[in-house]
Symmetry: C2
Subunit: 306 residues, 2 copies
């Protein structure tokens, strides 16, 4: 646990729930952070009990205004549903049907906002990062899994459920292309482009594949085709690519080139045709988009209820 | 020109601009229509001059509150752009860079709202049709072309530009599949599934292909794959399928089945898994979604400026 100055002030809590760890932060924005902790993801009650203990301990020295949560899903985000704020059916052992919002509500009386990890990251970048000048953006993470979130008309993207951009089906140029690893779809973005997919297809994890390995041309082609369909569906003003796999040097440029090749001059906007390097960008908040996004969700629900 | 009762009242104008005709309507909603006309699409000034003459003639007997336009594009819909409301680069001869909003503004001093034909149709169905109970929907038309519009958070979907769902790239199951006809992309939705694509691929126009022709299995597969990617990107609460090709008996049911097969139980929501027949639906306003959508756009801009 890191400790910082600013005791006795008012803060928000941001909780980023991931498959291996929960990152919690007490902050008002990326410039004003009070405390942070990393809690390993075990079973849901044990994990959330530690999250709650951390917040209660922190609130001895500071006032907590609201809590924001961005977590892995799928989630029920229908405010009219009896299971609103619950993780629905997930492959993560023990977490299916866990009521994460309910668990936090029994411990705290402040406003609590819940969204997907990627919608939170999108909202963090929209509020304080690479999407500050926009009204709409997509945040796509390529790592252990592939997931996408969005901001449209200034709000996180929800509908029937929430986006599941990792499972976009991808057309491949060659008939003898590798098999994807998704148990649901044999040719989806996550099944081809996630870290585990790279390892399964090419025999080595992404970090061990040299920069000039053909895996990266394939990876860039698959991600670009997914982005092309996202651009044609939503027309976001900015696309932010995060996640561990995206840290590979050269990959982002390959993706930008492949997006231009695939669109083939169809979408005529100077943001794409003339300055794609500022249209498809890395997260300005680096690895912190998700947890500061959760802080932004907390801030939004706090101000909407005043 | 059809004439109806209700003279001396206040009305909105809805203009649906298409490649072969402009449908204009003087109405407040589908229950309260004053006058309507169909003007052939020739060159832009001649066409709009006729539209303007119709509105001026109608306004002798009634008061026009605002005008809504839903037109073919692509359009510049960036309110901060100097060419806002202009048709940009189009294959429709003579219409590239035509300032449709500017032309109407020189003739009328009432508020004028411009959007794509498919966003207007989506807004019409959202306001008075199949999407009245929703907060988000997608309207896809399959006819001479394929186009998609959307309502998200209650507003027509804009971003960098507007959706171009007709050009979603589609993965095909078989390597010896037919070639699409899109000049930009060799495997996009419009290139495979539009009326002209059906004729090019199967040798006959859609109306001459029997219900049990393999063309319809292919058509349903292509459209379902496009819809799957739309569902995974936006997660709309309702999908409305309009356009001439969709009138083929049996096609809608085939598409619903193919969406379920392609999603393969991944998106767990009862609207999809248990009642897809009320999730993917025909337009409740029939062929009138676009022009009443334009009326709804007029109503929206009128009320937002009061």
């Amino acid at each position: 646990m890191q400790k910082f100055a600013h005791e006795n002030k008012q803060y928000f809590v941001g909780i980023e729930g991931g498959g291996t760890k929960f990152n919690c932060i007490i902050a008002n924005n990326p410039e004003e952070m009070f405390e942070t902790i990393r809690i390993p993801t075990t079973n849901p009650n044990e994990t959330l009990d530690q999250v709650i203990a951390f917040i209660k301990e922190s609130s001895k020295n500071t006032h907590i205004k609201a809590i924001g949560v961005g977590t892995f899903g799928p989630l029920d985000l229908d405010k009219n549903s009896s299971s609103f704020g619950t993780i629905t059916k997930t492959t993560k052992h023990g977490w299916s049907n866990f009521d994460i919002l309910g668990k936090l509500k029994t411990a705290f009386s402040v406003p609590i906002s819940v969204d997907t990890d990627v919608n939170a990251a999108a909202f963090g970048e929209y509020t304080w990062g690479a999407g500050q000048e926009t009204d709409s953006l997509v945040y796509l993470t390529v790592g252990t899994g592939v997931g996408g979130g969005g901001i449209l008309h200034g709000k996180p993207l929800h509908g029937l459920l929430h986006p599941e951009m990792g499972h976009l089906i991808i057309p491949l140029a060659i008939s003898d292309s590798p098999q994807g690893i998704c148990p649901f779809h044999n040719n989806c973005l996550e099944g081809f482009a996630s870290g585990p997919a790279i390892k399964a297809i090419w025999g080595k994890p992404p970090e061990d594949l040299p920069k000039d390995h053909p895996a990266w041309d394939f990876e860039a082609d698959v991600i670009a085709k997914g982005l092309m369909n996202i651009i044609l569906t939503i027309s976001p003003q900015k696309i932010i690519l995060g996640g561990g796999v995206m840290k590979k040097p050269g990959l982002l440029d390959k993706i930008r080139n492949n997006v231009l090749i695939n669109l083939n001059h169809y979408v005529q906007h100077s943001s794409i045709t003339e300055s794609i390097e500022s249209y498809i960008v890395p997260p300005a908040l680096g690895d912190y988009s998700g947890r500061y996004g959760a802080v932004a969700l907390a801030s939004e629900i706090y101000h909407s209820q005043r």
